[in-house]
């Protein structure tokens, strides 16, 4: 089931939530809508589900226009950010809800429903919790029940709104891997909304980066990370350092005669050395050292430049170098992306 989103616009009063958004989600893929809060990603997801109506534009499921069809008829599974489990029903009844509300002619028998629900509960590894109420479950368990409930109706499309947003770091990481494995098993076209770039890079087949109601870039995690289309994308996907400067003769030939340019270097692409390597090495002084578990963040002041630069290196490398705060060193960017000033956000 592929999803085609064509020229969607959505306005809330004076606020433009989505402006001319077009993107295609190939069948069977797990796609992340990634962006800062307020960028319109949740609105887009709700429009795909039919919970919100676009001002104009079309959503096609497998080439068929769904604009006129009711939420009920779209056969989507939706997992809400705060799960939205029916609080007065047991876990079993929650998962069975979508089957129980079907008209008599298409409703499976009690036994079939029971069998299906128990199968789904064991898929999400919560068969023992069938008789409990949502309030008796942990956040991660509720999330999995919400997923089982969405899957019970055999949706053509699975939509997840910030599925791991309200969970603590460890449960989050665990559920992330679990969702990836689950998707590899059932292969239903899935779209999930997230503001966490790490989550998007780890879980998805494809990332759609959004900002201010527009799509900045869509592509595989590698494409988006290795070849960011513009400053927003590189800024959003990881820590970067900015270097303002002029283009060298050689670059100017590529980019045209533009004077000011900003180059972006990711923190882990900055090399620290005691010796000057080549002409790109800059003299700098270490002003701060922060140890963040497996990595170490070193803040450096570049000689003759008011701006500070942050470099991230592995703990091993840091220990081998034996860096000290206040020490004079050389820094050298390993990989630089240049965007001309005009495009800067």
């Amino acid at each position: 089931m592929s999803i085609e989103i064509q020229h969607i616009n959505k306005q809330f009063g004076d606020f433009t939530a989505l402006s001319d958004v077009s993107v295609t989600i190939p069948s069977g893929e797990l796609v992340a809508l990634l962006g800062p809060s307020g960028c319109g990603k949740t609105t887009l997801l709700r429009i795909i589900a039919g919970l919100e109506t676009a001002d104009n534009g079309r959503i096609l499921f497998n080439g068929e226009d769904t604009t006129a069809s009711h939420v009920r008829e779209r056969r989507v599974g939706f997992v809400f950010q705060h799960y939205a489990l029916f609080r007065h029903m047991t876990v079993f009844d929650n998962v069975a809800f979508g089957l129980n509300v079907r008209p008599k002619s298409t409703r499976p028998s009690k036994g079939e429903i029971r069998e299906k629900v128990m199968k789904l509960l064991s898929l999400v590894q919560l068969d023992a919790m069938a008789g409990r109420y949502p309030s008796q479950l942990s956040g991660g368990q509720r999330q999995r029940i919400a997923l089982a409930r969405a899957l019970a109706v055999e949706p053509q499309v699975l939509l997840l709104d910030e599925p791991f947003g309200a969970l603590d770091a460890q449960v989050r990481a665990e559920l992330r891997r679990w969702l990836r494995r689950l998707h590899d098993e059932i292969h239903v076209t899935s779209v999930f909304v997230t503001h966490d770039q790490e989550e998007a890079l780890e879980v998805s087949d494809r990332i759609v980066v959004m900002n201010k109601g527009r799509i900045e870039q869509a592509g595989t995690p590698d494409q988006v990370y290795e070849h960011p289309a513009n400053p927003f994308v590189i800024n959003f996907l990881g820590n970067v350092n900015l270097f303002h400067g002029r283009l060298s003769q050689q670059d100017a030939e590529q980019h045209g005669p533009v004077e000011d340019a900003v180059s972006y270097v990711r923190s882990h692409d900055i090399e620290i050395d005691r010796k000057q390597q080549d002409s790109t090495s800059l003299r700098a002084e270490i002003t701060n050292i922060q140890k963040l578990g497996p990595t170490v963040r070193v803040t450096l002041a570049i000689a003759g430049n008011s701006k500070c630069v942050e470099a991230e290196l592995t703990r091993d490398l840091f220990q081998n170098l034996g860096l000290q705060s206040g020490e004079a060193v050389f820094v050298r960017p390993r990989q630089v992306r240049v965007f001309v000033e005009d495009y800067q956000i």
Binding site: A49, L51, V71, R72, R75, F80, L85, F86, V101, S135
Partner: protein, 285 residues
Amino acid sequence: MSALNKKNSSNRSQTEPAFVRWLLIAIAMSFLTLFLALPLAAVFGQAFEKGLTVYLDAIREPDTLSSIKLTLITAAVTVPLNLFFGVTAAWAIAKFSFPGKNLLITLIDLPFSVSPVISGFIYVLIFGLQGWLGPWLQEHDIKIVFAVPGIILATLFVTFPFVARELIPLMEAQGKEEEEAALVLGATGLQTFFLVTLPNVKWGIIYGVILCNARAMGEFGAVSVVSGHIRGMTNTVPLHVEILYNEYNYSAAFAVASLLAFLALITLAVKSVAEWKVRQQFENN
């Protein structure tokens, strides 16, 4: 968070000295005793002053029985109607946005802000003999004012806000997500309402109904204007108490009044259970 608050409330460094606390509690308790408990005790004391037989005779008296019957009929008609109006209004206001929503909220509150006497007069003005519809009604031999329909209409107006007012904040606090989840799972609007919305506000409804019922049975002002005080026909219990009292028939007046007092006590008991359950529903969000 709540555990933290509980800890704080017993923390000596953040509370007043013991005598201040006891003084405040004592003032509040003596105020309650003076103005609430004592009058209530007086009602029962007066009612049973001449013994149980006099009490029972006063209640068994035909005019009293007919006033009890009328009060029960009024409540039996108005409470279900206002339950229906209240639930639909609250559902519309809390779960949908539409033009005129604020106007509707204001209108629902209107009976609270208008004196009951005026609400009674509205019906006399519309349906009374000198009123807008009076001549037409007389032609067709339909009696509204000074008859049971007028009493029911006035009570309906006065008790309109209770159910809606109770449900709107509760429904708004619970949000729309569960309803949206039900819709996505294929439920129809009615299924969503009966299977998801209604069970979540069950105790709020009971609370609203209890208050609505207490007011419907106890309403005096509006009903007094439209009733016409015809003994045995258009007298409700509160009106009957007044008549008996004005006839210096104290023990009968207090005997009938004690029925209303009983109703108040039962209401209070059910209300506190419902209140406790509603708070649970709020906290489960």
